[in-house]
Point group: C2
């Protein structure tokens, strides 16, 4: 297999004709200045055997890598624009698997309106490894940061929490007591999360700080706290849970500990944000749940019905 053949055949179509890509035939891409906008840039890498499961297809890997990157942009209220891909193919990988990877990436690039502008393909004696650098646009100075939470602000999270962690357990063959439909739903959520790009306008208008929930709600809230120099209090009884997570929770012996586990499990790809109290109604309208508050101090404290709850495990660190 030749790098040039791979690029021409598999990846050139993924530029969707964007002139900035220069047909993937140049040393670099060239991105014109967009007056009135900042460029938001994030980079994530995945490794087979660490970040994805043996049963994941190459298409799933490519799609999840893109979605995880787009989740970062979503939390920043940025509009997705383009990606750069580096992929290291294992020696034993076949042409079919490489095509499947590119086809999965193509499908989701198209779905999210993003173009591939460049990258690098190499071979590796190790596992499939890929990194994506993802670019988005946001109006000048408007990116929602992690460092701008202030005491007195409330803490919110979008969607439901804990499904990613439960989905991983289900994908690994666990959670056999759950209904089959619930297990499937959780696995799907873990394998192919949906970046919350739909929250963009709400975050721009309402959020004082935000992050995506990848390492686990408590850990990611903690990142906001650390970057902002504030403490956070999370009321676990307010955690928004899916029907599947509620079914799992009902069978757990210690509700406080179980909720703390859900709040620490990763891979939800929701958005955790802070906002002034007067933003509560608009955030609720957009599907956010008020789960706590920003306080003076540092660290994250979780409680369940008014009593301190131990944070059983940190979020996934994948390292």
């Amino acid at each position: 297999m030749s790098e040039f053949d791979d690029i021409a055949r598999l990846f050139r179509p993924l530029a969707f004709g964007a002139p900035e890509a220069l047909n993937l035939q140049d040393d670099a891409a060239v991105i014109p200045s967009r007056p009135g906008y900042d460029l938001v840039v994030t980079k994530d890498a995945v490794v087979e055997g660490v970040h994805f499961l043996p049963g994941d297809t190459p298409a799933d890997v490519a799609r999840k890598l893109l979605r995880v990157n787009l989740s970062d942009l979503a939390a920043k209220a940025a509009e997705p624009y383009a990606v750069f891909l580096a992929v290291a193919w294992p020696a034993a990988i076949g042409a079919g698997a490489r095509e499947t990877f590119a086809a999965g990436l193509a499908e989701d690039l198209r779905a999210f309106g993003v173009v591939l502008l460049g990258g690098d393909t190499v071979s590796t004696p190790g596992p499939l490894t890929a990194s994506l650098t993802t670019l988005g646009w946001v109006e000048t100075g408007r990116m929602v940061r992690r460092s701008t939470a202030r005491p007195g602000h409330r803490l919110f999270v979008s969607g439901t929490i804990g499904d990613g962690g439960l989905g991983l357990l289900a994908a690994q063959g666990g959670l056999l007591d759950l209904a089959a439909a619930d297990r499937l739903r959780l696995v799907k959520r873990y394998r192919l999360p949906t970046p919350r790009l739909d929250l963009r306008a709400t975050l721009l208008a309402q959020a004082s700080a935000s992050a995506d929930v990848s390492d686990g709600l408590l850990a990611d809230a903690g990142h906001i706290g650390e970057a902002s120099g504030v403490g956070l209090e999370v009321a676990l009884e307010r955690l928004p849970l899916s029907p599947a997570a509620l079914a799992w929770l009902a069978a757990q012996p210690d509700e406080a500990a179980a909720r703390a586990w859900l709040a620490a499990a990763g891979d939800d790809y929701e958005v955790v944000c802070t906002a002034r109290p007067e933003s509560a109604a608009a955030l609720a309208e957009a599907g956010f749940t008020d789960i706590g508050q920003v306080v003076e101090g540092e660290g994250v404290e979780a409680s369940f019905q008014g009593r301190p709850a131990a944070i059983a495990k940190p979020g996934w660190t994948h390292s």
Copy 2:
């Protein structure tokens, strides 16, 4: 080892305080629009055992990865600005090796005036793998492309050619007939190439098309030809050679074949460009050598003293 500790301790200092990096504490970096400039973006990946030698230190790996990326920017006449790093650490790597990697990267970031704006660190059961996305600035519309060579233009290359390929042979224990000083010089050139950022003003003023010489002079000239829809003729007797390469050449039985090998060997990280004939004096002044011409047609034809020369091997493809 924790991803967050690694980022805070090893990589945060490499932002050199650039506000765009947001202290490497956010989901993304934010780059303000720079009116009057385009952003030039390139991405390269390296894998231990494929792109670097067992004896290379982690510092060498980081430095070469950066230099290879900067070489792409140099060929585009772009001014280096910032990088994003993804690194997959092998399970067995120690804290010392990770520190050495970061220290090597820091040294060269500083040397080339580039800041680290973000990235990702993960673990891998495979070999050390790293990818760098590198950003540079160029005045709007001025990036020197591969696709703009025209018949009648001359073909030029900077510096000397073949030292990278000979350096790899020497680093692998070969070329024992050469003087020790020559071998050392070649190995150094292979291990730590110097991106030709000094050619920026000349390329902007004179070049009609350009590429960096990474895959091999003939292959990279071929990339210009392919992107431009033209053919290229290279006169091997004009190849600029270092004293060490000349010493090697003198011992080869077939000069034409040996020169063709030097012109096909990779890792020189010089710049190959095309230009109108009237640019010849300015390019010679900047250290370029006229090695041939752009013609109608396609493909690269090499000759030695007027006779067609076989191109013995393609450039390294690393794949």
